[in-house]
């Protein structure tokens, strides 16, 4: 498509228009391809056909967050999940034991391909259990309760597949939490028992 418009580095609207005129309109929309890939590689939508992914893509919401911006805060009402396309998100919880209520404890960091907040899809007036903050500029795809309701109404067969996957994700989270809780209980028991290791 020829030279890029770097030579026309004038300011303001004219530069914007020149840049727009030189834009390669025939190039495949890379962000759309990214969304397709992010959705088809996500555990919740894995195994769906191209047309099904395309339908989900028409429902999800693309959001961009700058570094330091919070996606949601602990205690806020949550209505859905996010898939990370680009960037990193860190998670923290307010430390109840700390005298400073503002002091947050870092939990984990998620990056491209990961997803979070899926519990809010099935909870009634569920609150966010942690604060999610963008540590770099982030591009996310949001899939929320109203979108899930729309899938159920407009394509029930697809909704069953997604709900099945969602059930699997939640069951796995429950299993992991139960297993961790058992470990902690065992550790506590061991420390409390005299002569325990």
């Amino acid at each position: 498509m020829g030279a890029r418009p770097d030579a026309f580095s004038t300011h303001g609207a004219s530069a914007f228009m020149v840049s727009y005129i030189w834009e390669n309109f025939f190039r495949k929309d890379s962000s759309a391809t990214d969304h397709d890939r992010a959705l088809s590689e996500n555990y919740l939508f894995k195994g769906l056909s191209k047309s099904e992914i395309s339908f989900i893509k028409s429902l999800v919401h693309h959001r961009v967050y700058k570094a330091g911006e919070s996606i949601f805060r602990q205690g806020e009402l949550g209505i859905g999940m996010y898939i990370i396309i680009a960037g990193n998100i860190s998670f923290s919880v307010e430390d109840g034991s700390s005298p400073d209520p503002q002091k947050a404890r870092y939990i984990t960091r998620l990056s491209a391909g990961d997803f979070f907040g899926e519990i809010a899809l099935v909870e009634q007036a569920g609150r966010r259990t942690a604060t999610a903050t963008a540590t770099s500029e982030c591009s996310l795809l949001g899939f929320f309760k109203p979108d899930l309701a729309e899938v159920i109404e407009r394509n029930p067969r697809l909704a069953v597949k997604i709900l099945n996957r969602l059930g699997e994700v939640l069951a796995r989270r429950l299993k992991e939490t139960t297993s961790r809780l058992t470990e902690i209980k065992q550790e506590r028991k061991d420390t409390e028992t005299p002569g325990g290791n």
């Binding site: 834009e23 890379s30 919401h61 961009v64 806020e76 680009a86 591009s139 929320f144 309701a149 407009r154």
Partner: protein, 355 residues
């Protein structure tokens, strides 16, 4: 982040274009009042037809195909209705127009006799002349109606031509338009806005469908009742009762007035007059005891005082149109207030406040 920059640039252009279209639409709706009515009719039709379109879409059709199928069946239905009812309706309308002076005269006489009774019972303390007042009012209204007839015709033509086109685009692209609008919402309030939008849309949709169902049932009961009694103009009166029923509280009374006047003019206060009263009362009893508790009340839980206040305010601001849209608007405001309250107060318990 080159991908994100490209995405942002493309969206900037889309958003500017979208905002221009939105601004032009809003200016158009405000400047041309006829458009507002066409928009309200289109939105109501959109909410009414959306479940049918979704039902067809579930069967593997594209949304555009589903909308076109619905439009095809509506066209067939409209043709059948015109073929079956319009000749009878036109005949009833012409007969009613011919008999109108007789009915109005009967109404004035009824009011004269009422005034006489009231004045004689009041013992000369007050003097009321209802018949003359109504005659003056009717002359004034007739002059006002004749003056605004071109405006009514223009509104009707605009609504008839524009509403189906607007409804088509609401059904086909409504979700895309709403998604584009949501894309403009700042990140900090995005989830709250999406939640509000979906709740309001669901509630208004259910409310409109319930109210229209209510009107259709009232119309059918009045039509069957008047037909059994052998009363004139059953289709015309049933249609009027159904449309009037859309206005809460005063609508049913308003809808029964023409039937009662005609019954009184034809036979005075006799058996037929009572039969007509029974027909209208039965329709209202079915509405009050079956349709409202089973269908409407579950959808919009508003206090009766709020409903009355909203209807009065709606009539003051936008006339009959305001009375019709007052309840969905108040229901939407209630959803917004309750959600923002819940969002701000971190209230885990459902608010007990009943508006």
């Amino acid at each position: 982040m080159a991908i994100e920059q490209a995405w942002r640039r493309r969206n900037r252009i889309q958003f500017i274009a979208f905002l221009c279209i939105l601004a032009l639409t809003l200016v158009g709706v405000i400047v041309f009042e006829n458009l507002l009515f066409a928009f309200v009719v289109a939105i109501m039709s959109g909410f009414l037809l959306a479940p049918v379109v979704s039902y067809i879409e579930v069967r593997g059709m594209r949304r555009l195909t589903a909308v076109l199928i619905v439009y095809f069946f509506l066209a067939v239905l409209a043709t059948l209705v015109i073929w079956a009812f319009v000749p009878a309706l036109a005949e009833q309308f012409n007969t009613l127009r011919a008999g109108l002076p007789h009915y109005l005269d009967a109404l004035a006489k009824l009011l004269d006799s009422l005034s006489e009774n009231l004045n004689s019972n009041a013992g000369g303390i007050i003097h009321i002349d209802l018949g003359d007042r109504v005659r003056v009012w009717l002359v004034d209204r007739s002059a006002a109606f004749a003056a605004s007839l071109p405006e009514y015709i223009s509104t009707s033509v605009t609504v008839l031509l524009l509403s189906p086109i607007l409804t088509f685009f609401i059904l086909k692209d409504g979700q895309t338009i709403s998604r584009r609008l949501l894309g403009l919402v700042p990140n900090s309030i995005f989830e709250l806005t999406l939640s509000l939008q979906s709740q309001i849309s669901a509630q208004i949709g259910q409310f409109i469908r319930a109210r229209l169902l209510e009107s259709v049932i009232v119309s059918l009961v009045v039509l069957i009742g008047l037909w059994i009694v052998g009363f004139p103009f059953p289709i015309l009166l049933a249609l009027f009762a159904g449309v009037a029923n859309l206005i809460p509280y005063i609508g049913p009374i308003f809808g029964a007035i023409p039937g009662c006047i005609i019954a009184f003019a034809n036979a005075g206060v006799g058996a037929k007059f009572l039969f007509v009263i029974v027909v209208y009362t039965s329709a209202q009893l079915i509405d009050i005891f079956f349709i409202i508790p089973l269908v409407v009340a579950r959808i919009v839980d508003l206090h009766p005082l709020t409903v009355i206040f909203a209807v009065i305010l709606g009539s003051k601001l936008l006339g009959v149109l305001g009375m019709l849209i007052s309840i969905p608007v108040v229901a939407a405001l209630k959803v917004i207030i309750v959600n923002i309250y819940r969002h701000l107060t971190d209230d885990l318990i459902e608010p007990t406040l009943r508006l």
